[in-house]
């Protein structure tokens, strides 16, 4: 079949890009080897966080936050978003100093969303926190959403605007002839002048096919969730010197992450929990919230996600073709960026330019002879 743009990967980046293209009247088809949101997009921690972003990501993250705060106007659904703030706790003076330096750095870049709060303000916001913390870095209107619901909202809105989403359609071969990409799948052949690679952990071979291999590594960050508990905390909690992401979801369950990796059999798409690392995660939670010792963990899982060596995504034109684009490698912090990434790609495709600084995410940064 023929279309204007072929998007490989039906995750959030792919659906967001398709939605933005469709809004401007472009036709596109999404090809997904499984079902939309089967991997990282559907099962991530759902953090909507500007707090503590890499400086290169801040402009995009800030623009994306604006879109999340008005997400209903984009996808006709609130994606179960909440904005009670995200907090990075300082457990000692050293931590506090680290956070102060961070706040100053962000301020110097011209942004005001990250601020230091002292002890008293911290305990007002998080009375349940273990005593003796020093203070925190806070981003007051950060928050979280529910990833699979967001994914579906993006996908449905895109489809309502004419996007076709083909599940269980694995890409076997890509070539270009007569100004068209030809993508061969077990379900048939697809043709379009423009190709977008949003294939997440599976994006590497596609980039390589285009002649621009990337050092992408697939990983599976583990998450665990508790039974429902009475509400006791609003903001999302992290810690200055620990691996932690901790929040009480809308329904009272605790979602605990910490970027600890599961064992991954990438070929089989199987993950195996690393209980030693989850034990560390549990100890981290109990260090900050000792009263949770009897909270029961009911489920653990790990979504398969693309990691780049510098932990920055690739959001880029292809370096080998004027008609191909990439958005992948978000290294476990892409959920928040998804609305703006779709916007950026649609601008690159339709206008050949974007108003946001994407140079740091250029795919050419991995090419030695650059």
């Amino acid at each position: 079949m023929k279309t204007d743009t072929l998007i490989i990967g039906g995750g959030l980046m792919g659906c967001s890009t398709a939605l933005q293209l469709a809004k401007r009247g472009a036709r596109c088809v999404i090809l997904d080897k499984d079902s939309p949101g089967r991997h990282a997009s559907g099962v991530n921690a759902g953090g909507l966080r500007r707090l503590n972003r890499h400086p290169a990501e801040i402009p995009l993250s800030v623009a994306s936050a604006e879109m999340w705060h008005d997400i209903e106007s984009l996808v006709d659904n609130d994606c179960d978003t909440r904005f009670p703030g995200q907090i990075r706790v300082a457990e000692n003076r050293e931590d506090m100093q680290k956070l102060q330096e961070r706040a100053a750095m962000v301020r110097d870049l011209g942004y005001a969303h990250e601020e230091i709060i002292e002890r008293e303000a911290l305990y007002q916001l998080v009375p349940a926190l273990t005593p003796d913390c020093e203070g925190a870095l806070i981003c007051r209107d950060d928050g979280y959403g529910r990833p699979f619901h967001a994914l579906n909202a993006f996908r449905r809105k895109a489809c309502s605007l004419g996007v076709e989403c083909h599940s269980a359609t694995r890409v076997d071969q890509i070539d270009r002839a007569r100004k068209e990409w030809r993508v061969i799948t077990p379900k048939g052949e697809y043709r379009a002048p423009v190709l977008v690679n949003c294939a997440g952990a599976w994006a590497g071979p596609i980039a390589a096919t285009l002649g621009e291999p990337v050092p992408l590594k697939a990983g599976a960050p583990m998450l665990m969730i508790s039974e429902r508990l009475p509400r006791f905390i609003e903001p999302v909690i992290g810690a200055a010197s620990r691996k932690l992401s901790f929040k009480q979801m809308q329904n009272g369950t605790l979602l605990i992450g910490g970027a600890h990796m599961a064992e991954l059999d990438f070929k089989q798409q199987l993950t195996e929990m690393n209980w030693a690392k989850l034990a560390v995660s549990a100890r981290t939670v109990l260090a900050l919230f000792p009263q949770l010792k009897d909270a029961r963990i009911v489920r653990t899982w790990a979504g398969i996600e693309a990691f780049m060596p510098d932990h920055l995504p690739v959001i880029s034109r292809s370096s080998t073709s004027a008609h191909a684009y990439h958005a992948f490698g978000f290294s476990a912090h892409g959920f928040q960026m998804s609305p703006v990434v779709g916007k950026i790609l649609s601008q690159l495709i339709l206008d050949d330019q974007t108003n946001l600084p994407i140079e740091p995410f250029d795919i050419r940064r991995f090419q030695k002879d650059r």
Binding site: W275, K293, R299
Partner: protein, 469 residues
Amino acid sequence: MSTAGPKAHYSLVIIGAGPAGLAAAAAAAGHGLDIALLDEQRAPGGQIYRAIESIPAERARLLGSEYRRGEDLVGAIRNSDVEYFPDTQIWSLNREREIGLVHGRSAAMISADQVVLAGGAIERPVPYPGWTLPGVMNAGAGQILLKAQGIVPANGVVLAGSGALLLLLAWQYMRAGVQIKALLDCTPMHNHLRALPYLPRALLARHYLLKGLQYKLDLKRAGISTLQNVSDMQADGEQRVESVSYRHRGRQHTIKTDLLLTHFGVIPHIQLSQAAGCRHYWDKSQQCWRPQVDEWGNSSVNGILIAGDGVGIGGARTAEHAGRLTALEAVRALGRVSQHERDRLARNDRKWMREEQHIRPFLEAFFHLPGKLLAAPADDTVVCRCEEVTAGAIRKAISEGHDDSNQVKFLTRCGMGPCQGRQCAESVTHIVAGATGKSLPEVGLFRVRPPITPLTLEQLGSLFPDETE
């Protein structure tokens, strides 16, 4: 037996102390192996021989003669060098044969060279209107109370459903003097025809048939009649069950009761074999998922063997034989007997097991549940009781394009509660298959997300104390 927890490693770990696990442990003992028998209950015996060591003689008598068989099985373990750990929940098992457990209150991770899973069966969860009301329970739960504590319904009971246990429990209750208000048999009449071709073979194991007929006769003599071919059964009530209504011979009936016990057969408990990554298949005749095993109980995962009803429903005696066969195979794999010796030792069990199986095709056909009961709960019927997800919500998700079990789970939270989908996985598969026209294997089961049983943060945090970020 042991107040300290299990050691970090065993050559053989057997999970489950019912007939299969007990027989496996006894057969593996005496070969100089380091063996642990782990069981979630406080005492050995499994469901079938529950409380066998502590039961008063009077109560044991009314449970019937078959129950006493558990005494020898348990005795053999008590007099062996097998380390038996009761009160031990298994929350994780992987293909490296690492076993996450909670013994008493403490969590541990141990490993084994060979693992025999003997986790038995669970009662098949079948959602029907009102099944989540207080006062509605599984027949198995009623039997547990009878065996373990001698507790019986004080104000009488309505028994309903389909399956051998229903009849057995009615008979045991009758002997215990319980008022049985009604015995509603939901087995469709045409199952008699369905089962007929298997009758000749079943006659080779006619003691089972005769026992069933005896139970029926005894019930009839006691004035308890069974209503056959009952359909559209449902429990009604505001805060709890107040009455049960059903169709019988073309007419609608209602009967008042504050207790309804239902039973729709049993299915293998496969959460651990699923967690370990063992291959499973759908068995049309048993209407359940079963792990794939060879004639020695070897699963598709190296070093993990499965015996008893956890492989497929075969009953207590089959489980015993299978337990011994898997134990012999594990002992062989561990180099303690030759293949030849294993085959020799297995000869009787293999023969007896074949004889036991004569009755199964007949029973499976006779108690075959109608598709309507499994796949077509009304839209307002709750399917996932942990997260209170209705059949209607599941069908809505399907109609929006989420046409496999795991997508339904993502979207509706069905199966995300503390029971880990044990109660709803089958129903969801049936509903999705029914709505999409896909086959059950295509629809698939929920992916297992350990822990299989909940684990507190303190228990999890106590593991691997030397591990750091």
